[in-house]
Every structure is written in C-alpha cells, then in structure tokens.
C-alpha cells in the first residue's frame, strides 16, 4: 500500500506554505493536526464519499483528511448541475457527502452528510489511514452525465518531483478549478512538493483575482490558453509577474506563446499535455507549439505513440478505468487520447479531437449530449452539433437544427430562442450552442448514423 496524502505531507514535504483564497488562509502544516470535518473523518472510513463544496480550500482540506480513510473520494467541480450530482451519486455508489453547501436534500445518500469548513480546527482524533483510496474525477460524457474516471494518489502524483530542498519554494496561482484534473495537479504539487497556492474564491472575477495574485507574490501561474488570452485582455495583465507560466488543457498556438513570452518575459514557459484519462504525459519547454517527434517512444515510465492518427499513452500515471460501465478506458494498457496529430518536419502538432469532441476553453463537450437536449424540443426532428474554431476559447459549440414540420433553412427566431432557453436550463454555459442554424436537411449515412465531419 502506498502512503496516504496526509502521511506523504508529514514525511516528505518541506514545511511551510499555505493555501489561500480571498477570505481564508490555511497553513499546510496545520492540516496535519487539525480537522475541517468537525472530527467526523472516522465516520467516513471505508465509504464512497462525494466532496461537493463552494470553497476549493475546504475540498483540499477534506482530501488531506480523507485519503487513506475513505474507500473512494469523488470530486465535484463547481459548475455541476443537480442532475449530474444525482447521476454521480448513483454511479459511484456514494454513501456520504462532505459539503459546505446549505441546500442539499438530506435523503440524497444513505449515510452522513458532513459539513466541512475551510478553517482548520484542533482535533485529537487520528483516523487510521490504511485504504488505497480511489480518487474519482469527472469528465464530460455523452448523454448520461459526466464520465467518472478512477485514479489513485499514486497515478495523480506520478509526475510530481519531490522538492530538492535547496530552491526557493514556488508560490503557485491557478485559474483552474482544483476539483478538475489540471487544477488538482497544481494542488498536489503544492501539497507534496511544497510551496503555497493562491486560488480563486467562488465566483471571483478576474479583475479582483489578478491584483490578489500580485499581493500573494505568485511566482508560478497555470491555466488554459483561454484563461491566458483572457488575462492578456485585462488592463490588469501587467499587475502580475509570474516567473514561470504553465498552460495545458487545450491546443496551444504559437501566437499565444509569443505574446506571453514577450509580455511577461518568464524564465520558463511550459505547455503540458495531460488529460483526466491519460494523466500527465509530457511538458514542452522550448516555447514552440506542438511537440518534438523525439518525445515519441519510451521515456522513463511513459510511453507514447501515434496510432490511427491519434496520440496513445501508456504509463503508471494514466487512470485505471471508468466507473459505471461503458467502453474500457485502456486497451492493453494504452489510453487513446482521441487527440489527432499532424507530423510536419520533426514536430507533431495537435489538430483537434476525434469523434467531434469540442474543446471550449479546456472543457470538453460531446456533441451527443447537446443534441439530446435540443432534440427534446417538441418542434425539433433532429440536430447536429459540432465545433467551430474560436480565437478566444479555442472552440465553440454550434448547432444545426432540422424542424419537425416544414423543415427549411432560414430563421425562426421563436424556435431558436426556445432551443437556447432549453439548453441554458439543462446544460453548463460552455455547452450551450453559440449559434443555432435551421437547416432543411441533415446528411444521414447508409449506416443510419448522422454524417459528422471532423471540422
């Protein structure tokens, strides 16, 4: 059995450092001797526990307290819908919830609903940490809610280098939600490797976050290309001075790398390839988009290859499986990332995703999920959802809709507005089509499936 997060921090982490948001600052060392769960950790032993909080720090404190105690920890990002939550509870056999939300129905689960606070309270309780806890991360699914991806602390932390003890410890900031893969990587870097982390408070606007990151004197800052484009559009962009910039979660273009390089003149500017399923795969530090072909093959414990045009990964850092059935996550140990590549000269460039999966600012959207919502409108016969390139968010969702009666290309503002309203009520904002086009017909292949192009 590998060490639980609490014990890794206690035995390997250089002391000092904190986690903070707009209103709370918690010293990491204090997390070892205190509780954020009112001393309830032992009541959660062996259970499948859903962590659903507004405060990212409360969630982080709960992870430290419960890894090795709970059988399974399910991390819910901030932008979930209540439908998603019900589905996740069923799929992951959740029997207890850790939360700081007020409005949870008490009959959601059979076991306890434990209140957590981001503050560290003194406790004498020392729950035994003997479980190899499964960490469940959510990623977007097709039509039946999020996919549940099974990791362990070992697979999640495989790319994190232990501190060498001689360098200045970093002060990280991140635009990510630490309940998703990209943000969780940064949180674990700080919890295991040392340093501090400044997080966004729930709903905190960029205009407030940037000056605060400056106040915390962040040295390292991570986000998606879309996050960074947004920063560059802010008059406060010059208020931060990260010496290390990290991008991941979306295709990185050369224009953005050049702009960041010129504007911030960082010592390091790294884009990483990682995904919830494939884990952290590699980092590219040469300030060029794409990655060198020399990265193909085996490097240490990570193997990568291109097969059927897409990037495949085999490493101890990949997730183990999906919960709740569906297709297997790996084949002979390989994860097909679905990211299509173009080989030019000695470099590989990302083209987009197979299967029409749309990447909106680092968040994946399956066309089928959006189509299912649109098709529920009584006047809609069928619809096709696809991606459209955006220089702001990488991709955008657009829909072509065929009406049930007298389908014709053109505009029907009432129907368009009703479909948009339906989507706004059932889908996260990034999944709602930016544009709805009424069409007279949609191509159906001889297989009976709608024709999708990888546009």
């Amino acid at each position: 059995m590998s060490l639980a997060l609490h014990d890794v921090i206690a035995s390997q982490r250089p002391s000092g450092g904190h986690l903070c948001d707009r209103s709370i600052l918690v010293h990491v060392d204090d997390l070892l001797e205190t509780t954020s769960l009112g001393g309830w950790a032992e009541a959660l032993a062996g259970r499948s526990v859903l962590i659903v909080t507004r405060s990212q720090i409360a969630a982080a404190a709960s992870l430290v307290e419960l890894d090795g105690v709970a059988r399974r920890l399910v991390l819910m990002p901030a932008d979930h819908s209540s439908e998603d939550m019900t589905r996740v509870i069923a799929k992951a056999d959740v029997t207890a919830i850790v939360t700081d939300l007020e409005a949870l129905a008490p009959d959601l689960v059979s076991g306890p609903i434990v209140r957590c606070v981001p503050a560290a309270l003194k406790t004498g309780a020392k729950p035994s940490r003997t479980e190899t806890t499964e960490w469940i991360l959510l990623t977007s699914g097709t039509t039946d809610g999020p996919k549940l991806v099974v990791h362990t602390l070992a697979s999640l932390s495989g790319a994190i280098q232990p501190s060498r003890g001689c360098e200045d410890l970093p002060v990280w900031g991140t635009f990510y939600d630490t309940r998703r893969f990209g943000g969780l990587q940064i949180l674990l870097r700080v919890l295991i490797g040392g340093g501090s982390l400044a997080l966004a408070a729930p709903g905190e606007p960029l205009a407030a976050l940037l000056p605060r990151l400056n106040m915390h004197r962040i040295t390292h800052l991570s986000g998606t290309p879309s996050h960074w484009r947004r920063v560059l559009m802010s008059p406060l962009a010059g208020r931060i001075a990260p010496r290390s910039i990290r991008l991941s979660g979306e295709i990185v273009d050369q224009g953005l790398l050049d702009k960041l390089s010129g504007f911030y003149k960082p010592e390091t500017l790294v884009h990483a390839f990682a995904s919830t399923e494939a884990g952290v795969v590699f980092e590219v530090a040469d300030r060029l988009s794409g990655f060198p072909a020399a990265l193909l093959g085996r490097h240490g414990s990570v193997e990568i290859k291109v097969e059927d045009g897409s990037l495949h990964v085999r490493s101890p850092r990949t997730a183990q499986r999906y919960l709740g059935g569906g297709e297997p996550l790996t084949k002979d140990g390989w994860v097909d990332t679905g990211d299509l590549l173009d080989h030019r000269d000695d470099r590989l460039y990302f083209l987009g995703r197979r299967g029409g999966v749309i990447n909106v600012g680092g968040l994946k959207v399956h066309p089928e999920e959006v189509e299912a919502v649109i098709n529920a409108h009584p006047r809609v016969l069928m619809s096709r959802v696809r991606g459209r390139r955006s220089a702001i968010t990488g991709g955008l969702v657009v829909a072509e809709v065929m009406a049930r009666q007298n389908p014709a290309a053109g505009r029907d503002r009432t129907l368009e507005a009703e479909i948009l309203d339906l989507c706004h009520r059932s889908l996260a904002p990034y999944k709602v089509p930016a544009q709805i086009r009424l069409v007279g017909s949609l191509d159906v292949a001889t297989s009976g499936k709608m024709v999708r192009s990888n546009a």
Binding site: P205, R230, M233, L256, A391, I392, H424, Q435
Partner: protein, 80 residues
C-alpha cells in the same frame, strides 16, 4: 447600420442570453469589467464573423487583445 452599432447589438444580445447585466458600452468600458466572460466574447466574435465576414482575432498577423470596448470596435473597423 454602422460597424459600431452591429457590434453594440451583439454585445447586448449575448449579455441578455447569458443573463448578464451590461452597462451601456462606452469606448472606455473595460471589456472584462463588462460582466461578459471569455465565453461571451467568443460568441460575440463568432456572430460578428457571420454578420461582417471578418474575424480580426484569427486573421491578424500578430495577436491583439483589446482591453476596452473602443479597442474592440477599432479592431473591426480596421479589419473591414
């Protein structure tokens, strides 16, 4: 309709769809203070490409990042 008015119309329309309160945009309005997030901007830029036939964000040789509403409008005025 002038380019400025077409842009203005899209800002108001998208803010409304996203359920955001938008102050009347003046040239000095800082885009990221306008309650519109980057998703809203991406939608505005996509619809303006359909309406005006240009996307100055993806065609410019050097990436530009407008900070104010005035910057945004002049980016389009120059591109057309």
């Amino acid at each position: 309709m002038s380019v400025r008015n077409i842009i203005l119309e899209q800002f108001i329309q998208v803010a409304d769809e996203q359920g955001k309160q938008l102050p009347i945009p003046s040239d000095e309005l800082i885009l990221l203070d306008s309650s519109l997030d980057s998703l809203s901007f991406a939608i505005i830029v996509a619809r303006l490409e359909d309406a005006l036939g240009v996307d100055p964000f993806s065609t410019a040789d050097e990436l530009s990042f407008p900070v104010t509403f005035g910057d945004f409008v002049s980016l389009y005025e120059q591109a057309i």
